[in-house]
Amino acid sequence: MVKITWKIAGKDDITADIPIGNTLMEAAVDNNVPFIEGECGGCLSCATCHVFVDPDWYGTTGAPGDFEEDMLDMTEVERSPTSRLSCQITASTELDGLVLHVPIPD
């Protein structure tokens, strides 16, 4: 298990223990994190699991892959320099304590 925190502007943070090997999209859906839908099941087809990785953690999560890079142009909230699709990040021991910011649509 690793601890992941989702920060949601205007709401309480959600912190949960996530089994190693699960994607952070699955983790968000399991923990009812608002605005993270993951509609395509993690197949890089929908861009509904967009998160801003906290800048302190971006070096650890790493940059998006090629397909993910293209899909980040289709997110509801415009991408930032630390944007990722959370279906492409897998919980691992290095990510224990990771902080993600949830993009809030208008």
């Binding site: 509609e39 993690g42 890089l44 087809s45 861009a47 397909f67 899909m71 289709m74 997110t75 415009e78």
Partner: protein, 424 residues
């Protein structure tokens, strides 16, 4: 007052299109979910197939494209390899090939791009409704539901207005290729051998291809570009250009998908509002919150795309059944959307349902509907404008269903609309 009760005896033939002319056989799906969730079904004129009916099972398998592939056909129909190659679109591919194509066209259908079209959709909805409501009694399927989706797709693709009615007719011939009202070449009754290399095994495919070629030439002459069709014709990173056949199939896919599915959602929604006046009242009183959840609830309720098929790439077991390599497996999204274990009161419409994990767009897998943001927006705005204009809505005759187990719903919807008195 209930909206609609299924009348099948729990043992309906899912391969027979006639079954669906009485509405979706939900008693059969409920029994299968309960007793036989991976059920072997005789395929009628085709080989038999496995019916997967539970929400949980479809969610688990839909993303597993290595086990259950789209690259050997996605409808119940059996195809030879030659037929498959001649007719395939990116719907009939698996990742990563599928992902590459999808990314090329995805942006044009992404939420931010679609959101920018909302005033265009509203303008279309107002014109359609103002025309329809000139009469008190009319067929809402013909005058409302059938009008909106193709007009909107026409805007997105840059199709001249005068061609839209022709395109609706051709789109109907493609997808409704099992209903004699819409085609002279009924897939399961007539000899369609001559069209086996055409999209949807229909001669409409050839007509649409000629049309698309001419459209693109005219657009090029006028110096227009940047549309969805231009995107798909651009060379990819490896300088590959899609073939004429692939372009034809993609255009037919857009026409078929853009024409048909949302039409049935709109009809199902209007039917529900006519049968349950309190739903109309809820929407009239409702604030922004209800308009965020209501469209998806109507889409769940309608489930216009009832199934897609996959093919097993190796032997596996599920619920005690041995599925063999090459077996067809059908995901019944329409059944998953009534799954009692996933939805509280699945046979009721709850306009505030949230979360609403329905699978009407093929959620849980890479082939999730490309047009889902457009579908949600069209449903929302059409209903907002209808509700605003309507004091009372009643059925004015018997409804009729499309003859199809694939994409379908209410095709005839006689209604009486008592308009809202204009406020002074």
């Amino acid at each position: 007052m209930t909206i609609w009760h299924p009348s099948d005896d729990g043992h309906a033939d899912l391969s027979d299109h006639d079954t669906f002319t009485r509405g979706v056989p939900h008693n059969t799906f409920a029994r299968l979910r309960r007793e036989d969730p991976m059920a072997w079904c005789e395929g009628g004129q085709f080989r038999g197939y496995w019916s997967m009916t539970r929400h949980e099972d479809i969610m688990q398998h839909n993303r597993n494209t290595e086990l259950l592939s789209s690259a050997r056909g996605i409808r119940m129909e059996d195809q030879t390899y030659e037929e498959y190659v001649a007719r395939r679109t990116f719907q009939e591919t698996d990742p990563p090939e599928h992902t590459r194509t999808r990314i090329r066209v995805g942006k044009a259908f992404s939420k931010p791009v679609i959101d920018r079209q909302s005033e265009v959709v509203r303008g279309l909805c107002c014109r359609i409704l103002d025309t329809a409501l000139e009469q008190e009694e009319f067929d809402a399927a013909a005058l409302i539901s059938r009008q909106l989706p193709m007009r909107m797709l026409g805007q997105i693709l840059g199709i001249p207005k005068q061609d839209l009615d022709w395109l609706v007719t051709k789109g109907d011939e493609l997808i409704a290729n099992t209903d004699p009202e819409y085609t002279d070449h009924i897939l399961d009754r007539d000899d369609t051998q001559a069209y086996r290399f055409m999209p949807f095994r229909s001669p409409a495919g050839a007509d649409l291809f000629r049309y698309a070629k001419r459209l693109m030439e005219e657009r090029r002459t006028r110096g227009e570009g940047g549309g969805v069709l231009d995107l798909i014709l651009e060379p990819d990173d490896g300088d590959n250009v899609i073939s004429d056949v692939e372009f034809r199939n993609f255009f037919c896919l857009l026409v078929a998908a853009g024409n048909d599915t949302t039409r049935y959602t709109i009809s199902a929604a209007i039917h529900a509002l006519a049968c349950r006046p309190e739903l109309l009242e809820q929407l009239k009183r409702g604030d922004d919150a209800i308009w965020r959840t209501a469209p998806d609830e109507f889409i769940r309720w309608a489930s216009p795309t009832m199934h897609f098929r996959r093919t097993a790439t190796r032997d596996f077991e599920l619920h005690g059944k041995r599925i063999r390599e090459g077996d067809k497996v059908v995901y019944w999204f329409v059944s998953a959307n009534r799954d009692e274990t996933r939805f509280d009161r699945p046979f009721d419409i709850d306009l505030s349902r949230s979360p609403n994990p329905h699978l009407a767009f093929g959620q849980g897998g890479p082939h999730i509907c490309l047009g889902m943001w457009l579908a949600r927006m069209e449903t929302r705005i059409l209903l907002q404008e209808l509700v605003r204009r309507t004091a009372r809505l009643e059925l004015a005759g018997d409804i009729e269903y499309l003859r199809s187990n694939f994409v379908g719903g209410i095709k005839r919807l006689p209604v009486r609309v008592i308009p809202e008195t204009p406020s002074t």
